[in-house]
Symmetry: D2
């Protein structure tokens, strides 16, 4: 049984880790920390966990955390910078759901996050935890940077085209997210009365997931890819829908459907839908899955890739557990085999 610690368990990715790990056959949560809620039973804060957990939130304690086999950070950026080093030094592995180790260049990180990078020395150990591209590195990793939600949806949609060299190195990623992507913080902009019955773009001139997506698209393409990324806020709780627009190079007339099906045929958590399909975010609600469809409108040279994930699962906590499974040599889908909640 893998002993699991969670730092910062009161947010949405924290409670989602708890939900998923409650059903995991080979892992057990031993410690969950929260400064503000120390002493509170997790099931009192999250009644859906009643009957599944007896745990209480505790003040973060490095000894208790390091006694686990793996510690998940479900914290705002900056926290893992402070704590991950000590925990790693004591032989415990770390899976960080925050942005702290996603960007390989600490200067770039500092520029987008508005503060100096707190642990540049750990960057060499950090593996970017997208199993579909980094599975081998993940197996032996000690520190995982779990990809962001938008980056997961965009990469899984766009990388097959870029890796195959079929398109101009230019991507438009029009992305739509449910409100849970903004977290559980008490912000006016996340109120039901501000977000329900409305759609709006945000960060059109620059969003923190942009450098992360660019870094990974560039890596996949082997060259610089011009990226336009516009996120939009949707009036719903969960789900990300990425709509990718790219231009086929002249003379390319590959069967895109076959390309994607081959690319993902061995992936347990990427599902290429039949030609002509339109994936709905609800088809992945609550599950660790990315569904993708391909379109070429009017058979022109514009490719449209549609990709959906649950931002809290394949876009965060589920993907984190998928990484854990790979790191510990478990079945990759252990504890991740639920069916999406529909309707």
């Amino acid at each position: 049984m893998i002993k699991v610690g969670i730092v910062g368990g009161t947010g949405y990715t924290g409670v989602e880790l708890l939900r998923l790990l409650a059903q995991h056959p080979d892992a057990q949560v031993e410690v969950i920390t929260s400064r503000s809620e120390a002493g509170v039973a997790v099931a009192d804060m999250y009644p859906n966990l009643r009957g599944h957990y007896d745990l209480e939130f505790t003040v973060p304690d490095t000894d208790a955390l390091a006694a686990c086999d793996v510690v998940f950070f479900a914290t705002p950026h900056g926290v893992a910078h402070s704590l991950a080093g000590d925990i790693l030094a004591r032989g415990c592995r770390v899976i960080d759901l925050s942005a702290d180790f996603r960007i390989r260049d600490p200067e770039l990180w500092a520029e987008w996050y508005g503060q100096p990078h707190g642990a540049p020395a750990l960057l060499n150990d950090a593996v970017y935890g997208l199993p579909e591209t980094q599975r081998e590195q993940i197996k032996s990793a000690r520190l995982i940077a779990v990809p962001g939600c938008y980056p997961t949806a965009v990469q899984l949609a766009a990388l097959p085209l870029l890796e195959a060299g079929l398109i101009r190195p230019e991507i438009v990623a029009d992305c739509k997210s449910g409100v849970s992507g903004a977290g559980r913080g008490a912000k006016v902009g996340s109120l039901l009365c501000e977000t329900s019955e409305s759609v709006m773009a945000y960060g059109a001139s620059g969003h923190r997931h942009l450098p992360e997506i660019s870094q990974e698209l560039n890596r996949g393409a082997g060259k610089d890819v011009a990226l336009t990324f516009v996120p939009h806020l949707m009036p719903m709780i969960r789900g990300i829908h990425a709509t990718i627009y790219a231009d086929l190079l002249e003379g390319q007339n590959v069967d895109l459907q076959t390309l994607y099906e081959n690319c993902y045929k061995d992936e347990p958590f990427v599902d290429v839908m039949p030609a002509g399909s339109h994936p709905a975010t609800r088809s992945v609600r609550g599950v660790n899955m990315c569904r993708i469809s391909l379109h070429r409108p009017q058979n022109g040279n514009k490719v449209v890739v549609l990709s959906v994930i649950d931002n809290l699962v394949k876009g965060a906590s589920g993907q984190a557990i998928q990484n854990m499974n790979i790191m510990f040599g478990l079945e990759e889908n252990a504890g991740l085999n639920q069916v999406g909640l529909m309707p």
Copy 2:
């Protein structure tokens, strides 16, 4: 492995049976019927099932169904009347999610459903499938009438008071339901544009769940209980919230919290919340659970019982599987141990 057949698998209770049975360790769906969708793969109709089922819908065929160990009817009323007899006669058990066998008096059934009862001879074999009150009868039953969604929420909230003889035999049940209770039929009244951002009562002068609730409250109380039942439509997909109002008899000063905790202490799917709580329907989203809280406003003699279920799970498909587990001697929570999806 229990072989399962499902009649009428295209509605919401049908796809919910499929979702839950995909995770059941001891049961496997062998046959699923739908006249209108015969030949269609269930995973094409319900993409959340992709990767979980290879089944196709088939035209109902008594031979194929009777070769199963148990057949679930997830059909409009009247269908089980027609087909259940043949299936039962061939030794297969039947769990009917429709209203066909819930009401013991065929004349009363005919009055509320506007057509003659189609199988009165089977009524003696039918067991009302609320495990919390009929567990022993369910163990040996061949034909189960799964309770309606409103009746489940109301009975679990009100029966402890009635059975203990603590209240005047009069109940007000103000109930709120998500739109999935109206099914997957293409009705104007169920459109998002007609139901979203709005609340309304319906059936205030009489709803088909009224005689079912009355029958069972009367049985529990051992006498007639005056029932006022007003259902309301909520702008959401899943969930029922029942708010029960009753009057304590003069001189009764029992500790209601203790009464309920004792009443349900061995029940795996009824959770009495701590005193002062208010259960939210989202705490039971997707799971087979009823959460209950007790209040006595201003310490008067009015008792307010709050009860929540997911209408598609504890109010339908989950409860049906709970019945199957009991009938076949399995662990009662086999396949029903998920954690509610929150947020």
Copy 3:
């Protein structure tokens, strides 16, 4: 042109006053205050107001406010206690949308609001601003306490029965509200992810609107009325649905439909629906209207009254303007004749 000041214009009742007054033929907003947003254009904060207002929020200033003909307080409780006296003393009228002057007994107010009453000397001047019961007093009032949203929906539904002496002096009011009733404050409990796709009761053991409703029902009945009031939070922005349960006295067999139609036949903002109807909150979205339906389930002695309002309009800002119209001798529906937004 009536010169209007608004204190505390950044909340939902504030912006709703601005929306409605923009269309008012005889009133014009001259001053709108907000300490936190001083210097910000109202149309920058609320883009729906672009093109309708050039105003900026200003720091509250008694001189500027008292130069208006009437000042609306759209503030948390306690603020009007502090400021209303000075403004009234300078001859300006005050319409307070907060709870400060609704309760006639300052001790009772202090008990429910957890602080001493800040202006007991003004209570004698305060008129409870429900036009359907206090129209004459409103005409000459200098200080109006606009009723709460729940109290408005409950009183309009219940008072005809109580005034006619037809029922036992006991009311159950099961009320459902959209999330805007909780205001625009940044609270976790009002986030979309916490309130969407869920229903829950709150304050079942005691809510601040209880003493207000009791005070007014008692006044209407001419005696004490036992009140059970349970509010529920609905997953929507606007709307209140009150479901009232009462018991007809033995031997009373009045035609309730006629009673209500007569009671409200001259009221511009109460609409008694045809017998058998169920009013939906969306039918009053954005408008100053209360729609009511009557039911007697199974022709028994239980009366069920259904009543809907938009909590921000007839439950707050619209009713405030209705009071203004009456106070200044305008047509009562001036500026309040919109059609509900449906769908």
Copy 4:
């Protein structure tokens, strides 16, 4: 007073015409037809209209319609083809909200709508009713083809760039619509349980609004514009958000903000937001307004234009009334000066 007839008043654009015309100072609805609802009071079908209309639906009758000054068609495609000719021949003007006269080439229309064009002889008289581009022609028009909802949002966003010749003739229009765009028909795909808490694209390989948008973008640009148009269904009732992506030509370094502000400075119903803004669909809920923002991410050569409308108002019924106002020489904003409902 302009006498108005409405053909097909039971759908969402029909009830929206009624809502807006109830507040119009110079127009009055005299006739409203519906075969299926003939004899029903419009206020019985749409309770929000109670107190505003005494009209009943009637069977379509050319004499009664032609006695009006103008007839609106709020019908499925094909109906105006059949009836508009007779009505026009008798001197009445026609404003068609359907797609019947939007496309100038009847062969192209037939191809996309799957049936022959029913009134090609009228096409020469038809004026495309986008006031921002066709105001002069509308003034003298007898037959107006009101633009579709998506085409309105896309054209107002993209035309200034195309008309100024600043971009490559290639547009990506990623559009998001509320469910009311699908109408009031009883379709499974429009149920709350199918559309709530989910986002999906549809018609990615070809949608009927594509040829209409292309026709008008080509007209504006004076040459062919490659258009990629992908609509998405949003979990909300009203609103369209168009996100337009285009590439500035090399060497173009125009101030886009100024370009748009100048382009629309005299338009009453197009609002260019301040630089850096992101318009929300809720800011135009219920009103005849298009709000637009401009972005150049990372100051590159990609232009992103954000545009929002209420699909039932500026995308349909409001725009139809705006056309009527122009045709009859009224103030263009007569009856269209409401404030958006927010929250």
